[in-house]
Symmetry: C2
Subunit: 330 residues, 2 copies
């Protein structure tokens, strides 16, 4: 299927057509001031021939590719997908394209993606990676999301600790006395882990000690269900408020409890995390802590693209907000 398209017009063609030199065409294309008459001639010629700049020739000369690699584990998790959506949009607004690289949480794939990234001569990398021991190439501009590599590598995240606190405060001010904190564990203790820390701290500030459980990633539901089973007596759950480290987990939890006819928000209140809304209706799956995805994407893109005082190791932490979504009594 792939064939060489009809030879595209080059600057040389435009120059000939407009009766000007190559350099003049270049200037017009790049918006460098040039006599009005020339500019008009060139623009007319370019339009007539349907000229478009060849990014590869330009990239070769300038060492700037106007493309950024986005490295992430998967697109099948709504949070990653939504983030990719925003990052792509943000890049596009600034005239950059997004090269997508998916690692499936595989450390080797992550490493490989950094190499490929170097080969591809992208201008930078925005990475969301969870494997340990990745040493990003020193010379490659990189910004991470939710992951502190340390050293001089900037990281953008939202305030996960605050998010956990907000969830706790909300549940307790809605009357919860016996809170449960559920989180999915990752190999690397990263930003998301601060959620439970914030939750627990806010509970203790009110003199309540929450139950806290870490679920293994990528495991079957069995152990999880088993845990819940053990905490149901006479059709009643031991907890009256649940905080889950993702919306998906909240939905899974509530779905399972439904088998016992325990429902939210009547029998138990539940707050999730991420705040990804339904595609068609814009409604939330559950009460949740909303991460400011668009702002996180913008921050990462700006950090990467703009030079400035933020250069070395600046971390950006954005605030979150609570959003009621039907699984709490507010």
């Amino acid at each position: 299927m792939i064939k060489k398209g009809a030879a595209a017009p080059t600057m040389k063609d435009v120059a000939r057509e407009a009766n000007v030199s190559l350099g003049t065409v270049s200037k017009v294309i790049n918006g460098i001031p040039v006599g009005e008459a020339y500019r008009a001639r060139v623009e007319a010629a370019a339009k007539k021939l349907g000229y478009t700049v060849n990014h590869y020739a330009r990239g070769l000369k300038t060492n700037r590719t106007y493309s950024v690699a986005l490295v992430l584990p998967s697109l099948r998790h709504p949070f990653f997908a939504a983030l990719a959506d925003e990052v792509t949009a943000s890049l596009s607004r600034r005239g950059y394209r997004c090269i997508l690289m998916i690692t499936n949480f595989d450390a080797e794939a992550e490493r490989k993606s950094f190499v490929m990234v170097r080969q591809n001569k992208v201008d930078g990398v925005i990475a969301l990676t969870y494997s340990p021991n990745i040493e990003p190439d020193e010379s490659l501009p990189i910004v991470t999301i939710d992951r502190h590599f340390g050293a001089g590598i900037p990281c953008v995240s939202s305030d996960n600790y605050l998010g956990g606190q907000m969830a706790a405060d909300r549940l307790m001010s809605l009357g919860c006395k016996k809170p449960l904190c559920l989180q999915i564990g990752a190999e690397i203790p990263g930003e998301p882990h601060k959620r439970s820390a914030g939750f627990e701290s806010a509970c203790r500030a009110r003199g309540i000690t929450p139950t806290s459980v870490v679920l293994q990633e990528k495991q079957t539901e069995t152990p999880f269900h088993h845990f819940l089973d053990e905490h149901i007596h006479n059709g009643k759950l031991d907890f009256d408020g649940i905080f889950c480290s993702s919306d998906g987990l909240a939905v899974r939890t509530l779905n399972y409890l439904k088998r016992y006819h325990i429902r939210a928000p009547e029998d138990v209140q539940c707050i999730g995390y991420d705040g990804i809304a339904d595609f068609h209706t814009g409604e939330y799956l559950c009460s949740t802590i909303v991460q400011p995805l668009a702002q996180m994407a913008d921050a990462a893109v700006n950090l990467l693209l703009d030079e400035g005082e933020l250069s070395s190791g600046a971390n950006i932490c954005l605030t979150v907000r609570y959003q009621s979504g039907g699984t709490t009594k507010d």
Copy 2:
């Protein structure tokens, strides 16, 4: 943040290091046979210097970029996200990179993405677009998914008609007598619309006339809820089987019905569409018709990348399968 990295070694450097000519280095890099002694010298030198080929110089010469643009409306819909995931993986397996372009269903953005695509000199385009009147550039290799542009543009899809039939047959063999078909309408009558057609035809084949409703895209839940309200009498729904054109819609529907204490599969059986599993557990949200995403992605990529008899206007239609997921009695 973006800075010119330390000058990367070029073929010239490798040639000097290995004491061979530029042409020889090129041959080794590209796997063209060359004397064993030379090959060894070049490979050693390349490794020593950490040489990586500059894709932009290569692209300039060869007019091949080894990158493909994936144009789709959004990543916030699980189906699009999962498809993007698979397409990226499939491209990566073949040594291609994926440039992501998101249109948000905006016809102008779609048009612009085709232009950008041409500028970027990608080798081809895989497009999932729903706007009317897009005239893809003749010279650009393109494959669509779920969208028939007509003419010589190949389209990959799954058998949506069959999927609808399977859903109907399943519901009826599980005892349903009063089926409802819910679908979300799009501007363009495309592949997904065949689902309801298949559903209705299979119902009629058994002498049953289903109720069929088309929901407007991007509207509030109100009219939809209103419709359901009207079909609930004395706490009982007029229908005993529901087919939804997406899993998300199925979930929304069942969630709403829960307010009336109507639940699946006891009170009503429900089959969705797409078959996107939960990220962590791999479980399905509901009983569903599963689209073979990985195969669709591979088919699209192969069609795009391989020349051959499939060249002109070949359409590929892959089969689907039914998957029980707790909202039916099987």
